[in-house]
Symmetry: C2
Subunit: 626 residues, 2 copies
C-alpha cells in the first residue's frame, strides 16, 4: 500500500482533473469530432488510478515487464487516454490538438501507433479479454506482481465477450486484474439497459465470482482511491470497481444529458464549457509511481527443436502434425503458449497440453475471449497459438480483425477444414476461414497438405509477425515430403511438371492429394498437367504461378472452401493481369452431412471432378495444347 493521499494532494489532483477536462474538450473541438462526454465521465476514475500512487508504470520504459498495464476497453474515451498521458507529461499539450489528424499517433480510437496505448481498442467489449491475457501472463508465466487495469463502459457490458472474459478471469483467479466500470448511464443512442443501477452490475459480477467495489460517486476522488486500494487487497478473485458517473461531467449542459454522444463542441459551446470549468494551471502535471525494479528470473533459454521425422507415405492427419510440431518446437520458443477452445483433443493441441501444462490455457467454448486473451499475451511478448475448429474461429472475427491494429503476432490454427470432415455436417465445416484470414492487412495464411509441411509451417509461423493462420485437416493424408524439406512462407512447390503440360492445377491441403491423384489418372490417359502445392495462400508465390501459367494453357484451382475469397480468388486476382485463364473449383453449394469422399465428389473438388474438368478444358483448347 502507498502512503495515504493528503488533502492538499487531493486539491491538486482536482485541479489536474479540471486541466484534463479542458484538454478533452479542446482536443475534440480541434478535431471537430470525438467523444468528449464519454471521456469526461471517467476523469476521476482514471486520475485516481494514475496519480495517487496506485498505478505503477515507468513511461520511459513502456515495455518494462513489471509495469502495471492500463487498457481502455471503451476506446472512444481516447481523449481521456491522451489527456492522462499529457498530465503525466508524456504528451506535449500542443500535440493534443493533433488528435485525429492523419499524421498524429493520437488516433480517433487508440491504436499502437501511440506507444503508451496498451492495445488497439474501439470495437467495444474487447479490452477485458486483452486484460485477462496480460494478467494471466503476469501471474502464470512471468510471475510478476504487476497489475492490469481495464477501463470499461457500461454499454459495452451488453457484449457477450465481456462475460466470457469475466468468467475466465474468475476461473483463473486473476486477483491482479482490476476493471473500472464507468457507469455513466448513457449509451450512444440513449439510456443503457440498467441506467445508474449499480447493483445490477454488482449482482451479475458477483454471481460470476468477482469481487465488486461499489463507488456511489465516481467523481469523488477519495472514494475512487479507497475502492482501488481495496481492489489491491483482493485475493484469489478479480475486482470490478463499479462507479456511478455522469456522462459529460463538469459541463452543465452536457452532464447526464442525452444527444451528446460522440459530439465535439463548437466554438461557442467550448467557450461556455471552459468558462464553467474555470481557469486551469496548464503547467500542472501528475506523478505516476514507478514500478518495483525486481530481479527477473533468468529467462528460459532457447533449445534446439527436434527433427521432423515421418516416413514418406505415412498416413498422418495435419492436425496431428500440428500437435506434434508444438511439442517439437516448444524448446526453441520459450515464449510459446497454446490456447484452445475446449476441443484440444480434436485440434491436437492436447499433445502440447500434456507435455507443457504450464504453457497451455484452457479457454473453454468462448472463442472471442480466447482471441482477446491471446492478443494480451502476444502484447506481453508471448508467442500464442490459438486453436479450435476452423468454423468456430468465425466467432472471433471481430477480435481477430482488431488484433491487426495492435500489431501483435498471433497464430491461429483451425482444424476440421472443409466438407472433408464429412458426417458432422455443415455447422462444423470450416469453409470461410481462408477468406477470413486473407482479408487482414499483413496476414499470413498457410494450408499444409502433409505432416512434414505442417511441422515446418508451424515453426515458420512462430517466427512470423502479425496474424498468421494455419488450416489443418481432420482426416489422414499421406506424407509426401522428406523431413528436411524447407517451406518458406510465400513459397509453393511444383510437384508434378513436364514440358508437355497443358495446364497447371493449383491446390493445397486435402485437395492437393486429389490433384495428385487426378494427375496420375490424366497421365495414364496421355494428358500432362502441372501440379502446384500452394501451401502459402498469403503471401502467394505469384511469380511461380505466373511462369507456370505462361508455360501452360490454363490454371485450375481446387479448394475445399467456398469459392469466394479463398485459394481460387487469390490465384485469380494474382493472375488477373493475365498470362492464362483461371478456372476455380470450390464448394459452391450448401454442403451437408455425408462421407468425405462423397461430399468432395458432390461439390466437384475430387480427383474425378478434376479429371473431368481438365478433360473438358483440353478438348476446347487450341490444337497445339492438346
Amino acid at each position: 500500500m502507498e502512503e495515504a493521499v493528503t488533502p492538499s494532494d487531493r486539491d491538486r489532483l482536482e485541479d489536474l482533473c479540471r486541466l484534463m477536462r479542458t484538454w478533452i474538450l479542446e482536443s475534440t473541438h480541434a478535431a471537430g469530432s470525438g467523444h468528449p462526454t464519454s471521456s469526461l465521465s471517467a476523469v476521476e476514475l482514471m486520475a485516481g488510478l494514475f496519480f495517487t500512487g496506485q498505478l505503477h508504470y515507468d513511461p520511459s520504459d513502456p515495455d518494462y515487464a513489471n509495469n502495471d498495464r492500463v487498457i481502455f476497453s471503451k476506446g472512444h474515451a481516447s481523449p481521456l487516454l491522451y489527456a492522462l498521458w499529457a498530465a503525466a507529461d508524456q504528451i506535449d499539450e500542443d500535440d493534443l490538438l493533433t488528435y485525429r489528424d492523419f499524421n498524429s499517433p493520437l488516433e480517433g480510437h487508440p491504436t499502437r501507433r501511440f506507444e503508451l496505448a496498451e492495445a488497439a481498442t474501439g470495437s467495444l467489449g474487447q479490452g477485458l479479454s486483452i486484460g485477462v491475457g496480460k494478467a494471466l501472463s503476469a501471474k502464470r508465466l512471468d510471475r510478476l506482481p504487476c497489475r492490469t487495469y481495464v477501463l470499461l463502459g457500461d454499454s459495452e457490458m451488453a457484449e457477450g465477450s465481456q462475460w466470457e472474459a469475466v468468467q475466465i478471469a474468475a476461473h483463473y483467479g486473476l486477483d491482479n486484474l482490476v476493471g473500472l466500470l464507468d457507469v455513466n448511464r448513457l449509451g450512444q443512442r440513449g439510456p443503457t439497459q440498467f441506467g445508474h443501477d449499480l447493483r445490477a452490475y454488482q449482482q451479475r459480477l458477483e454471481a460470476f465470482g468477482w469481487n465488486v467495489e461499489l463507488v456511489e460517486d465516481g467523481h469523488d476522488l477519495e472514494r475512487v482511491e479507497t475502492a482501488l486500494a481495496f481492489a489491491q487487497k483482493a485475493s484469489g478473485r478479480p475486482t470490478m470497481v463499479v462507479a456511478k458517473t455522469l456522462k459529460g461531467r463538469g459541463v452543465s449542459f452536457l452532464e447526464d444529458e442525452e444527444g451528446w454522444h460522440g459530439k465535439a463542441l463548437d466554438e461557442d459551446q467550448l467557450k461556455r464549457a471552459l468558462d464553467e470549468i474555470g481557469g486551469v494551471d496548464r503547467s500542472l502535471r501528475g506523478e505516476i509511481a514507478r514500478p518495483e525494479r525486481i530481479e527477473f528470473a533468468e529467462p528460459a533459454k532457447e533449445q534446439p527443436a527436434g527433427d521432423v521425422e515421418y516416413a514418406l507415405g505415412d498416413q498422418v492427419a495435419t492436425r496431428d502434425g500440428y500437435g506434434s510440431a508444438l511439442c517439437r518446437i516448444a524448446p526453441l520458443f520459450p515464449g510459446l503458449v497454446a490456447l484452445d477452445g475446449e476441443v484440444s483433443n480434436s485440434t491436437r493441441a492436447k499433445a502440447f497440453r500434456e507435455e507443457h501444462p504450464d504453457r497451455f490455457f484452457e479457454m473453454f467454448i468462448a472463442e472471442q475471449n480466447m482471441a482477446g486473451v491471446a492478443l494480451g499475451m502476444a502484447l506481453r511478448g508471448k508467442t500464442p497459438f490459438v486453436s479450435t475448429f476452423a468454423a468456430f474461429l468465425t466467432r472471433a472475427f471481430d477480435q481477430v480483425r482488431m488484433s491487426v491494429h495492435s500489431g501483435a503476432g498471433i497464430n491461429f490454427v483451425g482444424s476440421h477444414a472443409g466438407v472433408s470432415i464429412g458426417q458432422d455436417g455443415p455447422s462444423q465445416m470450416g469453409l470461410e476461414d481462408l477468406a477470413m484470414f486473407r482479408l487482414l492487412p499483413g496476414s499470413t495464411v498457410l494450408y499444409p497438405s502433409d505432416a512434414v509441411s505442417t511441422e515446418r509451417l508451424v515453426e515458420a509461423m512462430a517466427r512470423e509477425p502479425g496474424v498468421c493462420y494455419l488450416r489443418t485437416t481432420r482426416g489422414d493424408t499421406p506424407v509426401i515430403y522428406e523431413g528436411d524439406e524447407e517451406f518458406p512462407i510465400g513459397g509453393c512447390k511444383v510437384l508434378r511438371h513436364s514440358d508437355r503440360d497443358i495446364g497447371v492445377i493449383v491446390a493445397a491441403g486435402v485437395t492437393l492429394h486429389e490433384a495428385l491423384a487426378a494427375h496420375d489418372t490424366l497421365r495414364e490417359r496421355g494428358v500432362a498437367v502441372r501440379v502446384i502445392d500452394l501451401y502459402s495462400v498469403k503471401p502467394l508465390d505469384a511469380e511461380t504461378l505466373r511462369l507456370a501459367a505462361e508455360a501452360t494453357g490454363f490454371v485450375l484451382t481446387v479448394e475445399d472452401h467456398y469459392p469466394e475469397g479463398g485459394l481460387g480468388e487469390a490465384v485469380a486476382s494474382a493472375l488477373a493481369d493475365h498470362p492464362a485463364p483461371v478456372f476455380c473449383m470450390a464448394v459452391d453449394h450448401r454442403p451437408r452431412s455425408g462421407e468425405p469422399e462423397r461430399l468432395r465428389d458432390e461439390e466437384g473438388i475430387s480427383a474425378n471432378a478434376i479429371v473431368n474438368m481438365v478433360s473438358n478444358l483440353a478438348s476446347t483448347m487450341q490444337p497445339n495444347f492438346r
Copy 2:
C-alpha cells in the same frame, strides 16, 4: 395446466425413454459417428416436455403459428431430436438408421432439411438467441400464447452469446421462453468449469433476471414435469430449468465417464448397452398435445409503398436512404421488423424506430444475439432488417454463417463502410464486410452509391430469400439516379460509355463517385473510359462486365474495402477465363484516422489515384487503344 400425469402414464413414459435410448445408440452405431452420450443425458428432460402434455405442437402442420417451438441449441444431441420425433411417430424407426447419410435429412447436426428442426444448430451458443427471436415474435408481434423451449448444454454456457441472449430475454420479459439446461458435467475434452454445481448456473441466471427451476435429478420424470409446470406459471420473466444429468445415462460404462464424447458404440459395445437397457416395446409411441386452435387477428394488409423522391444532385448519405426506405416500404411488408445494435441514430434505423416503435427491437451492443434473434424472427415469417456498423457485423460472423443452414431470409445492413468514415479510425471502418457476406452460399451483396439506388435495393432485399447484405456510407453522396430507376438484383449500370473507351472502371458506393470524377478528368485529357456501377456485388452481372471488358482494353476495379474477397476479386474471378486484364485498387494497407478524402488518396482509391492508374495503363497499352 394439463391434467396430472398418472403413475401408469409415467411407467409408459419410462418405457418410451428406454426405447429412445435404444434408438440413439442404434442410429449412431449405424452411422459410425455422432454423439450418443450427449443425447442420453437429456432424454428425460425432453421426454418430460414432449409427452406429458406440456408441449403443444401439431406435427402435421409444423408452420402452424400457435405451435410451441423446440430448439436444440446443443445440436450435437441430434440423435435425441430424431428419437423424439420417432417416438412422436413422425419418423419411421428404419429411417433413424439413415442418420448422417448423404441422402438423409437426419444430418449430423440438425439443419432445416429435417423439417421438424426449428433451426440449424451445431455451432454452440446460438440456439437461445434464435429462441429469443421466436419468443419475441410470438409475444410482441403475433401476440400468441405459444411457448419456445430451448435445450442447452452446460459447456455452451461459456459462450458469451448465451449471456447476450439471457440478458435480452430478461429485458423483454419473455415469460414465454423456457430453457432446459442439461448439466451433464462433461464437455468434449473433460469436465466443464462448474461440473454438477447447479447453483453456479442458478446464481448467474438469477442475477441476470431469470426465474430458475432446479432439478436435482434430471432423470426423474416427475421432477422434470414439475419444473416445466412451474416454468409455465412464470410471469414477466423467462425460466431456465437447470437439471443435473449424467452424460451417457442408462448405460453403465458410459454414464458420467470421460472419453466418450462424440463416439458411437461398436458392435460389441452396442450389444452390451442394449442388454443393459433391456427389452423395449418398439411399437410404443408418445402423444404430443395439440395447440389451441385460435382465431388469428386479420393479418395486416399490404399497402403500397410511397414513391422514391429525391432530386438529382441532392447530397444524401446512403445510410439516410436506408432509414427512409424502411419507413417508405413498411406498409408494403407488414412482416418487416428492424433490429439495431444500439447505434440506430448512426445507421438511421432510428427513422423506422420512431415511425414504427412496435416493429423495432433495440438489441443493445450485442451483435451475435442480434443476428440470432433476427434468424428466429425470420423463421417465424418475419422480414428482419438488422443494422449496425459494417465493422461490427464481423462480431456475428458465426451466427450469420449458421443462418444460411436454417434457410431463412435475413437482411443485414452495415453502415460506416470503409476508410471513408475518416477520423474515427480503423476500429470503426467496415473493410471486410463485402468479403464476409459474399462468402455465404446463396447470399446477396448490395452496395448502392446514392439514395435512390439504396431505396430500391432495400425494397429488393425485402423480397429476396436467403442472407442479404446492404452496405451503406456515412457521408453524403450526390443523387445520380431518377427516382423511378430500376435496380434488379444481379444487375449493374453502365453510367459512362463511348466507342473509344480504352478501359472500364468498375466501382460501387463511395468509389463510384471517385470513378465518375476520374472519368471527367480523363475525358478532359482526351482519355475515354467506361464507368460501371456494380451495385450488385453478388450476384454479379458477369455478362455486362464481359462485354465491357471485350470492348475495351482493361478492367479497373476500385473499392473502399480490403483487396481480398471484395468487389475486385469478385470481378477478377468472374473474368478469370479472360477477356481482358483486371486491375484492382483497394485499401491495401492498414488504415488510420484522418480526413476521408485524405484517406482515400493515401489508400489509392480516390479520383486522383484512378486518373493516375488509367494514365499509366494507357501508356503501356497497344497503340490502337491509346
